[in-house]
Assembly symmetry: C2
Homo-oligomer: 432 residues x 2
């Protein structure tokens, strides 16, 4: 089964918009076992569209076209699809009614030019768009079945998953259903994961589960792709394989499927009724931002402080502490405040939160380079005491920032889950 994708639109062809729609479509097809063979991008130009449809129609079995279904004159997909298929355009009354209703629900009158969106090539099959006015459709051109999808990402994504993929799978004849299970981990490199998971595919009937990885530092995504007759069958086949992956990757799995590390952390803290404060130097606020922007983040993360280095960070929490607990400070020596434990404890006390997380990095000196690294110290303070995680990460300034931020959130996840927070990870350099 040969699949091609055609992306349309001047804004994509001119480079004004980066083509993330294509990478989404291609990943979904790849995960369903139908890798894309060829991609073409053309502008909002009748001649180019016709030629692209004609060429793909001679080469492919299935073609996904993205964009050009809007209400304006430069949206040419229906018109050129009809021309390429050698048919006329006709008004789809059912879709027109859907659109009018769409506008009515929003207390608006449908502008006349939206009517164009209900003009479909004669004989086309409608692909439902439950979240917009652009009607998707499928039609044969040459030897291929063409699937026309809207350019608005939210509408395109849903139509690909719900309408297009099942149809292409059915045509491919090998499977009616696909299932993709994803595990997100931090601290295991792709090659070690590959070794750890050797043989898991054999826990399901031969060839029905395909193991794959996608490394996007600092996380690794482990994917199990299944194809078969029904979702029920696939879930049954998945179960023993997923259980084996969970067991073998163990503490390193931080989230599954659509979950994120920060989302899981926030849910855990929220459920336990715990509040948090964060202090960071080299990561300059990035750890806190990941939690703060989430829905409900403000109820958990009550304060965050950033400063350019450990001394300035100590001053930021200490200057405060001076007043609120002057007596406590007098009992301490000044230099203990600059330890990670001192900074986290002081922040916790100052912010009045249940927990404080401090992330401090001592970066190497000199210019950025691939072996640029830094010593990372992470401190988690609770009423019962402070736990510390130390490490050294290498790979350039940005790599160091990303790794330290991830390690901090992961340490907090592990701490809250009762897991060891200093388990050796593949990215860290141990002292020689």
């Amino acid at each position: 089964m040969r699949v091609e994708v055609i992306c349309t639109g001047d804004e994509v062809l001119s480079g004004a918009t980066v083509n993330t729609n294509f990478s989404f479509i291609s990943r979904q097809l790849y995960d369903a076992g139908l890798p894309v063979h060829w991609e073409t991008t053309v502008g909002d130009d009748r001649e180019s569209l016709l030629e692209a449809f004609r060429l793909a129609g001679t080469r492919a079995d299935a073609v996904i076209v993205n964009g050009g279904l809007g209400p304006t004159v430069d949206d040419l997909s229906q018109e050129t699809a009809a021309q390429a298929a050698g048919v006329g355009l006709a008004l789809d009354d059912a879709w027109l009614a859907r659109m009018e209703n769409h506008f009515r629900l929003r207390s608006r009158i449908m502008p006349p030019n939206n009517r164009k969106q209900a003009m479909l090539p004669v004989g086309a099959e409608v692909l439902d768009n439950p979240v917009g006015t652009a009607c998707g459709f499928a039609i044969d051109i040459g030897r291929a079945r063409f699937f026309f999808t809207p350019g608005v990402p939210r509408e395109m994504r849903r139509m690909i998953d719900e309408q297009v993929l099942p149809r292409i799978l059915a045509r491919s004849g090998t499977a009616q259903a696909v299932l993709l299970k994803r595990f997100h981990s931090f601290g295991i490199g792709e090659s070690r994961a590959d070794v750890l998971l050797a043989g898991v595919e054999a826990l399901a009937p031969e060839g029905s589960v395909k193991l794959g990885f996608r490394a996007h530092y600092p996380q690794l995504e482990t994917k199990l792709a299944l194809r078969g007759a029904s979702q029920a069958e696939l879930r049954e086949r998945l179960a023993p394989v997923a259980a084996a992956v969970r067991e073998r990757l163990g503490n390193f799995i931080l989230a599954e499927d659509e979950q994120t590390l920060e989302g899981m952390l926030l849910a855990t803290l929220h459920k336990a009724g715990l509040t948090l404060a964060i202090a960071e130097d080299y990561t300059s606020g990035r750890v806190a931002t990941r939690l703060a922007v989430l829905e409900g983040g403000g109820a958990v993360l009550r304060r965050s402080v950033a400063a350019p280095d450990r001394a300035a960070l100590a001053a930021a929490v200490d200057a405060a502490r001076t007043g609120s607990t002057r007596a406590a400070r007098d009992a301490d020596s000044a230099d203990t405040d600059a330890t990670g434990a001192g900074i986290a404890s002081a922040l916790r006390q100052l912010a009045g939160t249940d927990l404080a997380l401090a992330i401090m990095v001592e970066p190497d000196s000199g210019a950025d380079r691939t072996d640029f690294g830094g010593h990372v110290e992470i401190a988690i303070a609770r009423e019962t005491g402070v736990v510390i995680r130390r490490s050294r990460l290498v790979g350039g300034r940005e790599w160091l920032r990303l790794g330290a931020a991830e390690m901090a959130l992961d340490a907090l996840r592990r701490h809250l889950g009762g897991l060891p927070i200093d388990e050796r990870i593949d990215f860290e350099k141990l002292p020689e």
Copy 2:
């Protein structure tokens, strides 16, 4: 002149990598007055590459191929280019020597498989790559001139600008040189900018300057693209037009060309020997992060604090202030601390910086939606007093965050430059 681009590589075709190389190449060509007509992506597959080269060679005058010049077996560009051109491969001794020297300078021995990178189609013209081992080259296939470029973005960018564009321009016959001047502004929408700049193109000889815009909220980029015989001629033609743009967009221009708002701000503060502290609620650390991650950012931005809402932010700076200036606090009333002025002043005193910038947003309640907005208050505290900027921005949660962060940095830029900080912008909703 018809220009096409062919992107190669399994990682791009499978969607694992978003194709930002293409958008870069296409933008550069567009700005040089040579818009791309057609783009094709194929994988690391001999048959697809040959077919893509053959097709483009029948349609285009110039074709840029990206990727496939590496040392491994799946890098097929030289080999398939030779096949498509009907010639053999030969070792380029000069490039081999360059590569060996490249490794020697890094105290490394060149691995044997890198030798492959110096094998070029017979008759190909070398395109220099001063920053890597992948040798670019140009060769005729069909009726088109093909330009082969490396997939590593840093190497590709330089080769496109320095080697490929001048050659394509020369072939296009209309111009030998191009110049692109860019102005970055905040607060003017594209349609108003278009009105403000009406007629500026006429300040240069007819047709030699092309005005364009690229809106990427919250900033607007105004572009002047020039084509002509030499850089000297273009600079002369640009001068009166650029002066007119600066005069008409006036205070709204925050940077030019490669400069950024945060980069300009940091340079200004650094030059004046001023230090800064930042407090923010809804923007949750994003304003501070933009400055903190820049080279030298830590010397200027000495502290940043974020909290989920104004009350928590006031507590964060007030709790601290309690101790350091208890006497001062007793003289204040408690509720003045929660004003923007109170928060900025307290932070400035607490952090011991010359300036403090506070950004507070009161978001609307309810779910995210396109008319979701918020009231923004920005306060800049110096020893001499506090200045305030108030506004209302609308457009959804993320839109509000981006707009408020930009407005805060822009207000500081205006304040430091002696410009009015409350000049009306196109994005704000005034009270009705």
